[in-house]
């Protein structure tokens, strides 16, 4: 099967930060000797190089549908990456210390795209529920003296937060799921200013109050 190898090599060797990196000894497939290799984990791809300075990986292990377990082996601090499919190869690796082994087992067992997707979906759901919660409390809200006439604008409160200068905005392209859909349109002209930070502060006061009340009612 063809694979865009050149791109994979670039992905492996480019500057983008790795999720884990270090020396591990890898047990040979046929030969039972262990070979020390420099391993680099990026996303769900585990690359291994002959040397740390090598310009190209010797190989790559695709970390989908696998489990990572400790195992009994000739080497200390050994663990195995096992795949579900028939006649799949098991990779036996050995770290150089207990701490390194634990770090690798943890990062490898959470390396799959599927796992990442699960966590993202969960957080997305949580955020949507919170935003709906805010919307709900807004319509019921009567007592707060600072609550002004800007109800529709606060639906865009999340859009305002999305553009907060201090945080990364949603990746360009499209927002995953609902966020991109909530809060279309623009907030009304902010009293007396077009300066974003003032707008931010102005909405911020109401949001802070609502958040506090929401937190109390949900007993977080």
């Amino acid at each position: 099967m063809k694979l865009n190898e050149r791109s994979l090599v670039c992905y492996a060797t480019c500057d983008s930060p790795a999720d884990n990196a270090g020396f591990l000894s890898k047990k040979g497939e046929r030969n039972t000797a262990y070979h020390r290799r420099w391993f680099v984990l990026k996303g769900n791809m585990l690359f291994y190089f002959e040397e740390r300075e090598s310009r190209e990986p010797v190989g790559v292990i695709i970390l989908e549908g696998c489990t990572v377990e400790l195992c009994e082996a000739a080497e200390e601090f050994a663990f195995a990456i096992k795949f579900d499919c028939a006649k799949a190869r098991t990779y036996v690796l050995a770290a150089e210390s207990q701490a390194a082994m634990e770090s690798w087992v943890k990062s490898l067992s959470r390396a799959s795209f599927d796992y990442m997707r699960l966590v993202v979906k969960e957080l997305e759901k949580q955020l949507e529920e919170m935003q709906r919660g805010l919307a709900g409390s807004r319509s019921v809200q009567r007592r707060s003296p600072i609550y002004r006439k800007t109800k529709p604008a606060l639906c865009n409160g999340c859009a305002v937060w999305n553009n907060a200068p201090c945080v990364d905005t949603l990746p360009a392209g499209d927002g995953p799921g609902g966020l991109a859909d909530s809060g279309s349109g623009k907030p009304p002209v902010c009293p007396g200013t077009v300066c974003f930070s003032k707008l931010h502060d102005w909405y911020g006061r109401e949001i802070t109050e609502l958040r506090r009340e929401w937190q109390e009612s949900h007993k977080l």
């Binding site: 099967m1 063809k2 694979l3 865009n4 050149r6 791109s7 090599v9 670039c10 992905y11 480019c14 983008s16 930060p17 790795a18 999720d19 884990n20 990196a21 990026k42 996303g43 769900n44 791809m45 190209e56 010797v58 190989g59 790559v60 292990i61 695709i62 989908e64 549908g65 579900d84 499919c85 006649k87 799949a88 190869r89 990062s107 959470r110 799959s112 795209f113 599927d114 990442m116 997707r117 966590v119 993202v120 957080l123 997305e124 949580q126 955020l127 919170m130 999340c158 999305n162 945080v167 990364d168 949603l170 990746p171 392209g173 499209d174 927002g175 995953p176 958040r211 937190q215 977080l220």
Partner: protein, 149 residues
């Protein structure tokens, strides 16, 4: 570079996010459009001859750009070689847009940025880190900002 065909094959058999028969052209000069079954599974795009069970090839969708070309057409290129394009001609413009959206969201890196974004938003709203309950707050891959190793 060594990789496991068996792992790739197994992955190609997983349920797809998206699959369709689309005309595809390889970046090689003089390539022609050929009908392929194109299947998106996690961050891989597999392509099959329409009557075969095993893919001819796979594209890892990291560090790539999904470009809208002319009507019904989109292309995939990789950042280190932006002129080398895999071209795809869909049946309709709507189908073309759907694929572009799906492929842009298909990378691990995209999901990571989404996760960091949501984590941050939730933390701002509640004062709590939503990843703590899963015991993964300290994972390098979920950190905002540069991760140096």
């Amino acid at each position: 570079m060594r990789y496991s065909e068996r792992e790739l094959l197994s992955l190609s058999r997983q349920p797809a996010e998206k699959a369709a028969e689309i005309l595809m052209r390889a970046p090689k000069k003089g390539s022609v459009l050929k009908k392929r079954l194109v299947k998106l599974v996690v961050n891989f795009l597999f392509y099959f001859r329409t009557d075969e069970a095993e893919p001819i090839g796979a594209l890892l969708l990291e560090h790539c750009k999904i470009n809208k070309e002319e009507e019904n057409v989109f292309s995939i290129s990789f950042i280190e070689e932006p002129d080398r394009k895999y071209s795809f001609e869909c049946d309709t413009e709507a189908q073309c847009q759907e694929w572009i959206e799906a492929l842009r969201r298909a990378s691990y890196e995209f999901m990571r940025r989404s996760l960091i974004f949501y984590r941050n938003e939730i933390q701002k709203m509640t004062g709590k880190d939503p990843l703590e309950q899963y015991g993964i707050s300290e994972e390098a891959r979920f950190q905002l900002g540069t991760r140096k190793l």
